[in-house]
Symmetry: C2
Subunit: 206 residues, 2 copies
């Protein structure tokens, strides 16, 4: 349309690249969820999007790179949700901790529910792309640590080393927040989330 | 060798059946560990034992049944070890709880170490043979509950509902005792087992 493709092309590319990237991720996530990470190929993703595999590779150099971007998006959403609960104004540290844990639990229970093949994607991320998972775990621990320090400041909590205690809280709720374990909860309903949170809070008493 | 096979045969069968059963389980467990549950077939197990698949099927009617027997043997060993720690004479309830958790952690860390394919066997058991897993979890919870009640009796612990608290302890240590999570520990070393046990014990303070 333009007489000067050298000007137009970078503009078009800047406008469409994020959209294409997002479309690739949306299709990949759906395929990982419904067909499974193992059986999904970059060629399948390209086909669904009616583009060439080469075009997908312009954005992501491997299926692993696509999975990392999917996991980063998902973990980003979870962290945003967590932050909202952790920073809710006018609440005690205890209420903020309780709401934060409940939000993580609700998200995991709802997000993957009904997609048994999602395990493959999570296991692939935990194996091939551990750094992405570790950063997510670190950011959640940082949020817990912040609530803990607030609670220690107001005298609600006691925690000699809030960084370590935050990691312990995180480990204590893994049964209720780790996607690979949450799917088993209906078969092993005890302890309930509330029972577990009460147990954690007891450990934080001054 | 005998002139009366009707007498000899049952004797021989009684003597050799448990041995054959054990040999099948030993070969199956090794194959699940080294080759993986998915790729192991009953025919492979039979071949290794130089017997016919039909003979394996005399003892176990499916690969699933073999896996259940393997898992029952393994969980039986773990429970025996746990019971030894839980019932150690002359120790405080706190020491018995600490030793019990440490024993579970050490067993899981050592037993599956270096066998990434063991995940398949455990996932198969958790999926196809959930009852076997559930009974194991229930028996461990019962041991924790017993220690808790002793500790409540001596005033070492407070636990309004020891059955629920036992389940909470179990959930709190899943990061350090569940075979599917323990393999990740080197990548995520905090909290250490001692930090986690201290966190749990804080929750039990009167």
């Amino acid at each position: 349309m333009s007489s000067d493709p050298q000007i137009l092309e970078p503009e078009l590319s800047e406008e469409s690249a994020p959209t294409t990237r997002c479309r690739i991720l949306a299709v990949a996530e759906r395929s990982f969820r419904e067909i499974g990470y193992q059986k999904t190929t970059v060629a399948d993703i390209a086909k669904t999007l009616k583009m060439s595999p080469a075009n997908v590779y312009r954005f992501f150099d491997s299926k692993k790179a696509i999975n990392e971007a999917v996991v980063e998006r998902v973990t980003g959403e979870i962290e945003a949700l967590l932050m909202k609960m952790a920073d809710a104004p006018g609440l005690s540290a205890e209420a903020r901790l309780r709401n934060s844990i409940a939000a993580l639990h609700r998200d995991t229970s709802g997000r993957w529910n009904g997609y048994p093949r999602i395990h493959e994607m999570i296991e692939a991320a935990m194996g091939e792309s551990w750094e992405v998972c570790r950063h997510h775990v670190d950011r959640i621990a940082a949020v817990f640590e912040r609530i803990l320090r607030d609670g220690v400041g107001t005298g609600e909590f006691a925690a000699a080393d809030p960084a370590v205690t935050a990691r312990c809280i995180q480990a204590a709720i893994v049964r209720h927040t780790h996607p690979l374990l949450v799917s088993q909860l209906p078969q092993m309903p005890e302890p309930s989330l509330d029972q577990m949170i009460d147990f954690v809070l007891r450990s934080l008493r001054p």
